[in-house]
């Protein structure tokens, strides 16, 4: 069992569509220093007018491209290599 790590900056990898309960659960857990990466159906959260995503939220470009969203959200797009770097930079990761 690990000790308490309440303020460890955390990488959140979210792959659920905006309507999935875990989408809201993830957003509710985000800390100020945390990083959120959207993958698979979660990238639809960027297009969803009802989703309120944090500033600096990132999304996998392959999943954006697959859904015709990469031109609208170039600013948020990251590659798989970028994601690997993020996993190296964060000691705490939650895969939602």
């Amino acid at each position: 069992m690990n000790e308490q790590h309440e303020h460890t900056p955390t990488l959140h990898i979210l792959n659920k569509a905006p309507k999935h309960p875990r989408f809201a659960a993830c957003l509710g857990t985000l800390g100020a220093e945390d990083v959120l990466v959207l993958s698979e159906n979660a990238v639809l959260g960027l297009a969803d007018q009802q989703s309120r995503l944090p500033d600096g939220c990132l999304a996998l470009e392959a999943d954006l491209a697959a859904r015709g969203l990469n031109e609208s959200f170039q600013k948020q797009a990251i590659s798989y290599a970028d994601l690997v770097k993020l996993t190296e930079q964060h000691s705490r990761i939650i895969s939602w």
Binding site: M1, N2, E3, Q4, H5, E6, R22, I94, S95, W96
Partner: protein, 116 residues
Amino acid sequence: MSTLIVVDQAPYGSWTGREALDMTLSLAAFDQPAALLFTGAGVNWLRTGQAPEHVGQKSAEKNLSAAPIFGVEELLACSESCQRYGLDDANMIGGINQVASTAETMNRYHQVVFAG
């Protein structure tokens, strides 16, 4: 570093819980510390007397009982969810530790994976 696998979905409607259990036992079998947390509808995995052969599936009860032998560190359940689904010591499989806060439990782990 210990991995917490979170099961938040009910049994038998999908394969996600079964896959989570397989992942946990695999991690433990390879000496990777792992623990399981059941929360939300996922606590229904823990009820005694399940007979899923009626829907063509196998019970997870034996696998869960074997988890400590495989080296799974802890079997945890959200107490609020247990209450909601009418689970208590009398109708829950043995060896489960109830926790008051899912969020606090997740904070104790550096690797947290949701099933499915």
